[in-house]
């Protein structure tokens, strides 16, 4: 094994071009587990810790450009207003020690269906900034997850940042696990209201081979809210609409039975989380101020 220690982003891109099999390591919270347990013996480890700009973020007009290695603890602390859904999701990641090291770039690189950031990114709307010596491209988050632990990155590409739409309305995140800390999601659900476009977006975690949006549920809800004039009136969403939304969210799952839960349970739980997060965000939208309800 070789340990590559680029001192700059340009050096890192050059190293990845020269050694496409190199495994990037930033927080190490996924990669080191695999090495410690002898599950993986990469030819090259590409350390990204010395590249400072990866831990920086810029708040723009429309979106936040979040460096790939910004730790979850920094997202929780600094970006709660701009990225409330991701901040809530970050708070559910493992433990303080892990949140101090891990970041969204690693979550995307690993692309586990159970990664905590994914539902929040899907719901908010995001693009992954991938770069190689050949150039930079922005990959829409919907096109990024291509299979179980697979993503749209080319072998010579590294994740520089993720561009996440700034919240224009309430966002919520919900995760099912056996306890609050140190838990891989049995399943998770993110929901964002976008009052500017009068749309609702969702993200489902750990209930399909990849993180997915509940697109049919979104389409149904968007139409129902529009037809009923809910965005203007701010009235309570009728239980029938919430119920149908939950059922469609449940239907968007394609889960498996595993040690953490059964497929049936996951479908059921996703429906419940969809209904709850819709209720929480809608209450926030109506100004009832139940701000952090549902925060794990």
């Amino acid at each position: 094994m070789d340990f590559l220690r680029p001192a700059s982003w340009e050096e890192a891109l050059a190293a990845k071009a020269e050694h496409p099999t190199a495994v990037p390591i930033a927080g190490g919270t996924d990669v080191m587990v695999e090495i410690n347990f002898d599950h993986r013996r990469p030819e090259y480890l590409l350390d990204l810790n010395r590249i400072d700009e990866l831990t920086e973020w810029e708040v723009g007009q429309e979106s936040v450009r979040l460096g790939a290695s910004v730790p979850y603890s920094a997202i929780m602390e600094n970006l709660r207003t701009e990225l409330p859904g991701l901040a809530l999701a970050s708070h559910t990641v493992a433990s303080p020690q892990i949140r101090n090291r891990g970041g969204v770039g690693g979550n995307l690189g690993t692309a586990s269906p159970a990664g905590d950031a994914h539902p929040a990114l899907l719901a908010a709307g995001a693009e992954v900034e991938a770069e190689s010596v050949r150039g930079t491209r922005l990959i829409p988050i919907d096109a990024f997850y291509t299979g179980v632990k697979r993503n749209a990155l080319e072998p010579d590409e590294l994740i520089r940042a993720v561009h996440i739409k700034k919240a224009d309305g309430p966002q919520q995140y919900s995760k099912v696990g056996t306890r609050n800390a140190m838990v891989i999601a049995v399943c998770a659900f993110g929901l964002a209201l976008h009052p500017e476009t009068r749309t609702v977006r969702t993200g489902i975690g750990s209930a399909a081979p990849t993180p997915v949006r509940a697109k049919e549920a979104e389409a149904f809800l968007n139409a129902a809210l529009d037809e009923g004039g809910f965005w203007e009136s701010g009235k309570i969403i009728t239980p029938a609409i919430a119920k149908q939304f939950a059922a469609l969210a449940s239907g968007a799952c394609n889960p498996i039975d595993d040690v953490r839960g059964t497929a049936k349970y996951r479908r059921h739980a996703v429906g419940i989380m969809a209904r709850r997060t819709l209720g929480w965000t809608w209450e926030q939208y109506r100004g009832a101020g139940r701000t952090l309800e549902g925060a794990a």
Partner: protein, 199 residues
């Protein structure tokens, strides 16, 4: 591969480090610092918690090569680290111990290494003393990680709520105590710290 970094205020060099080796392994097996415990090796238990440039991390998940040029504080250096904080920042704290201290204080910090093995006769940090006084140590395996995590909590949150304490220690597993005595110990250390600031 060779790795140079600072451990408990002293520059250290490790040779023939395997590229996939963890910081925890280097500390325990190459530097004779067995205080950080090796339990789960997957970041679940917090027994290997150390400060890396002031930030609590699981040392089992940090690749040795990633600590090149950086500062690590382990439980063996906790008493000195707390002493430095008390001297240089009464009532507060600095993140890394690499702050703008007086030359005198810096010398004292660098030149007083603890024994490194078992810390015999070494002074205890307030959080260590509180763990003893509150009966928070049973088998002791989780204790070093808890001490490092709890010390960092008290540095940044001098009057923690119970919720703060539970959250700060949520990454550290203890299979003996049921945590109650550990929570007592942190409350005790916080209370003593407040008294010291007020007096």
């Amino acid at each position: 591969m060779r790795v140079n970094f600072t451990v408990n205020g002293r520059p250290q060099e490790a040779d023939d480090v395997w590229e996939g080796e963890s910081l925890l392994y280097v500390l325990r097996e190459r530097m004779g610092l067995p205080g950080s415990k090796n339990a789960c090796e997957q970041g679940e238990c917090g027994s290997c918690t150390v400060r890396l440039d002031g930030v609590p991390v699981c040392s089992c998940l940090v690749a040795a090569g990633q600590v090149e040029g950086r500062e690590v504080v382990t439980v063996e250096g906790l008493a000195d680290y707390a002493k430095h904080r008390e001297d240089a920042h009464p009532g507060g704290g600095c993140a890394s111990g690499a702050c703008g201290t007086t030359l005198d204080a810096a010398k004292r910090w660098q030149s007083k290494p603890t024994d490194g093995q078992a810390g015999e006769a070494a002074e205890l940090s307030p959080i260590q003393q509180a763990f003893i006084d509150a009966g928070a140590v049973q088998c002791g395996f989780c204790t070093p990680g808890l001490l490092v995590a709890a010390d960092e909590l008290l540095e940044n949150t001098p009057s923690p709520s119970d919720q703060d304490i539970r959250e700060a220690l949520s990454g550290n597993l203890c299979r003996c105590t049921g945590y109650e005595k550990i929570l007592d110990a942190v409350r005790l250390a916080a209370a003593r710290q407040e008294e010291a600031v007020q007096s």
